[in-house]
């Protein structure tokens, strides 16, 4: 489970100040990745390393991420942290790198990879799905509202939810995609409710925005006691839990992920031993711990 | 107080590459019909657009009733009492006739933001009636033909309380009957004290209608005289700067073998049993009123439109022509009546337009033979006296008549056997007309077959060897220069429904 990075370059005794860690996230234009970025920056400050932090405009801009990787790798960084949008494609773009590579949030088989920092979307979704299924009990019916069909992140969350629900005797009656747009999610939710004659106890969503739209539709159609699970644990999502709109959300420790990714990268650069899997953990946020979690989140973005 | 309604002093207007109007002056008296004439590209339309605020001149000044004005847009000119019927139709085809007539005017219901359509339709119908057109004003304007659209334009101008109405070649797309109606209207406007500036290439109209005539040449003022002090020859020589000895330089050529024969051509709703033939070495004229089906006949023959039945023989051989491409391959050239919409690619250069119909023949191997194309273009420009700065000028920038010459050039270059000219002299000046006739003569002399569709009887009579008259999609009869007397009366009678003989 442990790996020592053989040191090809002479960075052994350089001070942290001259070290640059390149970080490319899935995007910088969403709140979740904002926390990861905040963690990265905090680590940069605490550990005294430079970070070069980037991310494409949206989570579907595969090409753009590949371009960023190329651009960054030719700029010369000492370690590389990546949240791959499309693992195979990232692997091919990275090619034969000489620096340690760390995947964050989403794991992938990438050349030069020394460690994965994260939980995995499927694990987090599994946790959220299990929570909902337990709460609703056996024989309940569930719908899943996804992000974008055919997208790796969506696929992982989908798998996690489905596994958890089925293991706990819940039937998944409908899977629809809402393009991660809350407004579309409301439409889809209304239609699912109609299709199932209102016989829905669980709605598992691929993100908090979708959950917000779905919850609003549920509310408008006057359905009661529907368990709505979001994903990401954003401020608005957690606020929605506090307000009673959403039941729970699957929160990955985004901030910790970012922080520990840089930490791990630094270790790898220095030739220290690193874990091949740094589990940053995930938790299900419910009404019980929402307030507390919200405060933590707000603290991150100071 | 000046005794002129409108006065232009020393006005100059430049366009990229040309001075369209140079130190121009013009005086229009209240209540007169003032003719304006000049060669193609002389600057008539430019003068008008300066008067209506469409173009802003670089130099000179304009006075209305003695007050200096400088219009920045057509609205200001309209407010000052100047209305205009432009050379190019400005109809919104998808809107109703009423809406077009009231395009810049609105009658609202009393105390309401909504239009009073009942009243507007009523007025529109009245105005159209006064122009001799009893039509459904609620219908889309685009569903009517060019003639009516032109009348709608005139109605627009009539409806504004104008002191001066400008008409830029209003008769170029009208038939005889409509022209007459228009003249009546113009005279009645004059009676109401409205001045008219009337542009036309048709000298007879000017003599019939105008009190005074101004002649322009190369953007400059040449003369202004009372009509009765002028005659045909003096007017023409003022216009073109030389005398024209013959307006219709007809040559006698020996007709050859049959070139084209059409039998029982039918097209639902448009053509009924059209049969005729045309020979090599002759000019076959097609006369008739607007909408008689002449254009439709030859669009079908050329392959531009499908038809329902009938046979076409070229040089005695039966052919099936399904596209203009096939028509050209059979040795036909078809000069369309609408040069802007159907004849030219306005955004392309003169050079490109000249080779539009035989591009494939201008290539050497895979690529264009630039030298050959250049040479061809130069030849065309000098042969046809096309007034253009260079062969690379965009065609859209040329004056109407010069555009027409480019279209003719295009077809000459295909070296066809049968030339179909649909209204070939529409909108071109007297001098240029003669040039076009000479081109036809040259073709006939070379043994080609020329078919000329025209709504201008003098040119039909002046140039044709034989004349076919059409009416409502049928052939009414045929007259031959050899055996019959060609005169206006006989042809008109046939066109109006009488049989020939």
């Amino acid at each position: 489970e442990q790996k020592t990075v053989s040191k090809p370059t002479a960075t052994e005794n350089t001070s942290s100040g001259d070290i640059t860690v390149g970080v490319i996230l899935k995007t910088l234009s969403s709140e979740y990745w904002g926390y990861v970025a905040a963690g990265v920056q905090a680590a940069s400050k605490d550990l005294g390393v430079k970070v070069d932090l980037q991310g494409p405009a949206s989570e579907t801009a595969y090409d753009e991420q590949n371009n960023m990787i190329e651009t960054m790798l030719s700029g010369g960084v000492d370690a590389f942290v990546i949240a791959p949008l499309q693992s195979d494609s990232v692997a091919s773009v990275i090619g034969d790198v000489k620096i340690p590579v760390i995947t964050v949030d989403t794991d992938a088989q990438i050349p030069g990879k020394v460690s994965f920092v994260g939980t995995g979307n499927d694990n987090a979704a599994y946790l959220g799905g299990t929570f909902a299924a337990k709460k609703a009990g056996k024989g309940a019916k569930a719908a899943i509202i996804g992000g974008v069909e055919g997208n790796a992140t969506s696929d992982a969350r989908q798998a996690g939810y489905t596994k958890a629900l089925e293991e706990n005797g819940v039937e998944v009656v409908s899977v629809q995609y809402a393009q991660s747009n809350p407004d579309t999610a409301a439409n889809v939710m209304e239609n699912i409710i109609t299709a199932q004659n209102g016989d829905i106890q669980i709605v598992c969503c691929h993100n908090d925005d979708t959950a917000a739209g779905a919850s609003n539709a549920v509310k408008q159609l006057g359905l009661k006691d529907v368990i709505i699970v979001g994903f990401d644990g954003n401020q608005s999502g957690v606020q929605n839990i506090i307000d009673g709109n959403i039941t729970a959300t699957c929160a990955q420790a985004a901030y910790t992920m970012g922080y520990q990714a840089v930490e791990t990268a630094l270790k790898a650069i220095k030739g220290e031993t690193v874990e091949t899997f740094v589990d940053t953990g995930c938790e299900v946020i419910t009404a019980d711990n929402a307030e507390e979690y919200l405060n933590t989140l707000k603290g991150y973005l100071k | 107080m000046s005794n002129y309604l409108v006065e232009l002093k020393g006005v100059t207007k430049r366009f990229p590459g040309v001075v369209a109007m140079r130190n121009m002056s013009l005086q229009i008296r209240p209540g007169e019909i003032h003719g304006l004439i000049g060669e193609n590209g002389a600057g008539k339309s430019t003068l008008i657009k300066v008067l209506t605020g469409v173009h802003i001149p670089e130099e000179g000044s304009i006075y209305i009733e003695g007050n200096k004005v400088s219009f920045k847009n057509p609205n200001e000119a309209a407010t000052a009492g100047i209305a205009c019927v432009y050379q190019e139709l400005n109809i919104v085809k998808l809107l109703s006739v009423t809406d077009n007539i009231f395009i810049n005017k609105a009658i609202n219901k009393k105390g309401s933001p909504f239009l009073d359509y009942t009243k507007m339709h009523e007025i529109a119908h009245e105005v159209m009636l006064s122009l001799g057109q009893d039509i459904a004003v609620k219908k889309e304007c685009g569903s009517y033909g060019m003639g009516i659209q032109q009348m709608v334009e005139i109605a627009k101008a009539v409806l504004i309380d104008a002191k001066l109405i400008i008409m830029d070649e209003p008769t170029s797309s009208l038939g005889e009957k409509e022209v007459e109606q228009l003249m009546k209207t113009v005279r009645s406007l004059k009676e109401k004290g409205i001045a008219i500036l009337f542009v036309s290439h048709k000298l007879e109209e000017l003599f019939e209608l105008c009190d005074r005539v101004t002649v322009m040449r190369d953007g400059e003022h040449i003369l202004t005289k009372n009509t009765d002090e002028l005659d045909n020859d003096s007017l023409i020589s003022a216009m073109v700067g030389r005398t024209l000895d013959n307006q219709y330089p007809k040559i006698e050529a020996e007709p050859g073998a049959e070139a084209l024969r059409v039998e029982h051509l039918n097209s639902a709703g448009v053509l009924r049993d059209v049969s005729f033939h045309a020979n090599h070495g002759e000019i076959l004229g097609f006369a008739g009123l607007v909408g008689a089906g002449r254009t439709e006949t030859f669009r079908a023959v050329f392959g531009a439109d499908p038809y329902d039945g009938g046979e076409i023989y070229i040089n005695g051989e039966k052919v099936v022509i399904k596209s203009p491409k096939a028509g050209i391959r059979c040795g036909m050239a078809f000069l369309t009546e609408d040069r802007k919409g159907q004849g030219l690619v306005l955004s392309q250069s003169v050079r490109t337009n000249l080779i539009l119909s035989n591009m494939r023949r201008c290539t050497k191997g895979l690529f264009f033979d630039e030298k050959q194309i250049d040479q061809l273009a130069e030849e065309n420009i000098s042969d046809l006296k096309i007034k253009t700065p260079t062969a690379d000028e965009v065609v859209g920038q040329l004056s109407g008549g010069n555009q027409q010459k480019v279209v003719i050039g295009k077809w000459i270059n295909t070296n066809a056997d049968i030339y179909i000219f649909d209204e070939p002299t529409r909108g071109i000046d007297v001098g240029a007309k003669v040039e076009v006739y000479n081109i036809m003569n040259r073709l006939v002399r070379a043994g080609k077959c020329v078919i000329m569709i025209s709504s201008e009887l003098p040119e039909i009579i002046g140039m044709s060897d034989r004349v076919i008259v059409m009416r409502e999609g049928r052939i009414m009869g045929e007259l031959s220069r050899k055996t019959d007397v060609l005169n206006q009366e006989i042809i008109m009678k046939a066109a109006w429904g009488g049989e020939i003989r």
Binding site: D183, N187 | N108
Partner: protein, 333 residues
């Protein structure tokens, strides 16, 4: 004469017939479709696209296009979000006012770019604007989704009239407002001088110019109106989804709206299009989406069906026009 009138009327209701046909097919496909509550769902789901389509229609009539409509609506929503989170403003009136001002201002800018700065075709300028607005939307809320809007802001998008708890889901207020707006539009476009000038500018800009119509001002007005409709759409979006999500700005709201207008008889060449046709177009799109979800089809099928419907709708329209022209020609003699 009578059959001619009949045919004319038939021509006008042809798109409506297509909609009815669609209803019949879907009713046969699933019994869940033709229920009162599902009809209300369709109305609810038509509102946003209906409003944005109204924004698109006027610019299409002027032979223009506005690709920034969706991004504009989302920016309007995010502006409200920003006021709430960054400045702590919760006064609904202020929020709504800022929303509308933002929308109109963006539209006005589009108009200025097109006319005063002489940019060639609004496709380009509004495409640029769409990108700028996407960026601004992310920027003003620091990429965060904003929730918890005051009830008066979400009112328009979330209220239902005559709702019966557990039974009838109620007539969505947003659709009623949509209809009211459409009625105003109808009178505006058909019965006022300004409305007619808009058709004029689109049908033949040169004629409009030569007739002394100030095309520039009309175009600026049209794009501002488009912006205004976007801001109303923003209120409905916020009401329906309860959040303002900046990353939704890149969503293809614009293509859905274009599709609705074109299905309803508008044309890229300008001068054509009616508001009722647009309504049918918008209803058609949401009905298809609704039906496909009820049938639990996959995304791939949904894409394909929507694509085919867009193509079929214009194809039918074109064919009908050609047939009519032919019939007219045959009847002429």
């Amino acid at each position: 004469m009578k059959t001619k009138k009949m045919k004319e009327i038939l021509g006008k209701v042809a798109p409506l017939l297509a909609l009815v046909l669609l209803f019949i097919i879907l009713s046969l496909a699933t019994e869940k479709f033709f229920t009162l509550n599902n009809m209300m769902n369709i109305l609810r789901q038509t509102a946003v696209n209906g409003l944005i389509s109204a924004a698109m229609l006027v610019v299409l009539i002027t032979a223009g296009i506005d690709l920034s409509v969706g991004a504009n609506a989302i920016l309007c929503a995010c502006m409200m979000g920003m006021l709430k989170t960054s400045f702590g403003i919760t006064n609904s009136l202020v929020l709504i006012l800022v929303c509308i001002i933002t929308g109109v201002f963006i539209g006005f800018l589009n108009g200025i770019l097109l006319t005063k700065m002489h940019l060639p075709h609004p496709f380009v300028s509004t495409l640029g604007m769409k990108n700028v607005l996407c960026g601004l939307a992310l920027f003003v809320v620091s990429t965060k989704t904003i929730s918890d809007f005051p009830a008066a802001v979400t009112f328009l998008g979330s209220s239902n009239l005559f709702k019966v708890s557990g039974g009838f889901s109620g007539i969505p207020l947003c659709f009623i407002v949509l209809i009211l707006i459409y009625i105003v539009y109808h009178f505006f476009l058909n019965k006022t001088a300004l409305g007619r000038m808009i058709y004029c500018v689109g049908g033949n800009p040169e004629a409009a110019r030569l007739s002394g119509i100030n095309s520039d001002n009309i175009l600026i007005f049209v794009y501002s109106l488009s912006g205004f409709m976007c801001s109303i759409a923003a209120l409905v979006i916020v009401g329906r989804s309860a959040v303002a999500n900046p990353s939704a700005a890149i969503s293809p709201y614009d293509t859905d709206a274009i599709a609705a207008c074109i299905i309803g008889g508008a044309s890229f060449m300008g001068g054509k299009g009616t508001i009722w046709g647009t309504l049918i177009g918008a209803l058609m799109i949401s009905t298809i989406r609704n039906g496909l979800t009820l049938l639990n089809t996959s995304s791939s099928v949904q894409y394909i069906v929507i694509g085919l419907v867009i193509i079929a709708a214009v194809f039918i329209d074109v064919t009908r026009t050609r047939m009519e022209a032919k019939a007219k020609r045959l009847a002429a003699k």
